[in-house]
């Protein structure tokens, strides 16, 4: 049997187990709750959590002068513990110039380009992951708090539509796995509810830190779908954050 047919069969078997209701606010579970006790312990111990290596690197980058004016992030924003507290709980956030929501990574790159006059960091580069881990870490333990901003509504609804739409050669929607079949198994993995509480995450499978965008790419590739474009991806991220509103941030989380 080809790998593709096997994957389809697995998916059909899993999804023939019957439907269920959408995940209600009281039953929301972070992917953390589905992890093995050893992996949870690794996340909770800052000395064993490899994501903290990026946080430490990000703290150094925060203070490093860059660009023609030699300004550091700290030069404008001061101590990140105060100025960046809660920022990750409200991203993707509205960007006036772009007239659309942008991710935390894009926000950092905007400052990098326009305020520091530096070269923007490449997506998924260690530099960008380090700064985003450092900024997101300042929100650890805080509830996700996307504002009820009417400008965000159409993007959130677009994200919801993508979440519910069947896609790819396997013809599966995000919701089929992450709502109807959450808690069940797909091969060896528990299907989590798919909440974006821990990003950037240190994924053991990646042996590295990675962004929410990378995680979503894994899931879209998994159903053999066309990749999402930038605007779709940010709308989906926005919807996922709204769906997880009130859940505590864990950055940098560990995931299997």
């Amino acid at each position: 049997m080809t790998r593709r047919r096997r994957a389809m069969l697995v998916a059909m078997l899993v999804l023939s187990l019957g439907g269920a209701e959408a995940v209600g606010p009281g039953e929301r579970r972070s992917g953390f709750d589905d992890m093995a006790p050893e992996t949870r312990a690794m996340q909770l111990d800052d000395m064993a959590n490899p994501g903290m290596l990026w946080v430490a690197e990000g703290e150094a980058a925060w203070r490093r002068p860059a660009g023609p004016a030699g300004r550091s992030c700290a030069g404008c924003h001061g101590e990140a513990e105060a100025s960046m507290r809660g920022i990750a709980t409200r991203h993707p956030g509205w960007d006036q110039a772009a007239a659309r929501p942008i991710s935390l990574e894009d926000r950092i790159n905007l400052c990098r380009r326009e305020r520091q006059g530096g070269e923007p960091f490449a997506p998924e580069s260690d530099d960008l992951l380090a700064l985003s881990a450092y900024v997101a870490h300042q929100s650890r333990g805080m509830p996700i708090a996307l504002p009820d901003d009417p400008r965000l509504t159409p993007f959130r609804e677009q994200g919801r539509h993508i979440f519910e739409q069947r896609r790819g050669q396997l013809n599966l929607s995000c919701a089929q796995c992450h709502e109807e079949h959450a808690g069940r198994r797909l091969a060896g993995s528990v299907i989590p509810q798919g909440h974006p509480t821990g990003y950037p995450i240190y994924r053991l499978e990646w042996q590295s830190l990675g962004s929410l965008r990378r995680r979503l790419r894994n899931c879209t590739v998994g159903v053999r779908s066309e990749p999402l474009d930038e605007q779709e991806a940010v709308a989906l991220e926005l919807f996922l954050m709204f769906r997880a509103n009130g859940m505590p941030m864990e950055s940098p989380a560990i995931r299997p």
Binding site: M47, A48, P50, M52, L53, A56, E57, L204, Q207, S208
Partner: protein
């Protein structure tokens, strides 16, 4: 230079068993993995780790390709005197990294 995190108590009583924990950023590339073009990515791992306490070796480890990226180590030693602990990781491609930490023993 690779980023490291080292954790040990700042102070201890003489004779106390102390726990030391280290993390280092390193890809631990196994040498068996093909890249996107099918070519095998050359091995790039840490081979050895040693911890000395005022010059005396108190812990040593050998590393192999099956060890995960960004390796974490936890080990113990006995606090004997105030002094310096030196941590050295050595590996492929001339990789050497040394870090130090001090401890006060009363």
């Amino acid at each position: 230079m690779a980023r490291t995190l080292i954790n040990l108590p700042r102070s201890a009583r003489r004779g106390e068993v102390i726990e030391i924990r280290t993390l280092i950023a390193h890809p631990m590339e196994t040498g068996y993995r093909p890249d996107a073009s099918g070519a095998v990515v050359p091995r790039d791992i840490i081979r050895r780790f040693a911890c000395t306490y005022d010059g005396e070796e108190v812990f040593r480890a050998e590393f192999f390709p099956a060890i995960a990226a960004n390796p974490f180590l936890a080990f113990t030693t006995i606090a004997t005197a105030s002094g310096t602990l030196t941590f050295t990781w050595e590996g492929d491609n001339g990789f050497v990294q040394t870090e130090t930490a001090s401890i006060t023993v009363t």
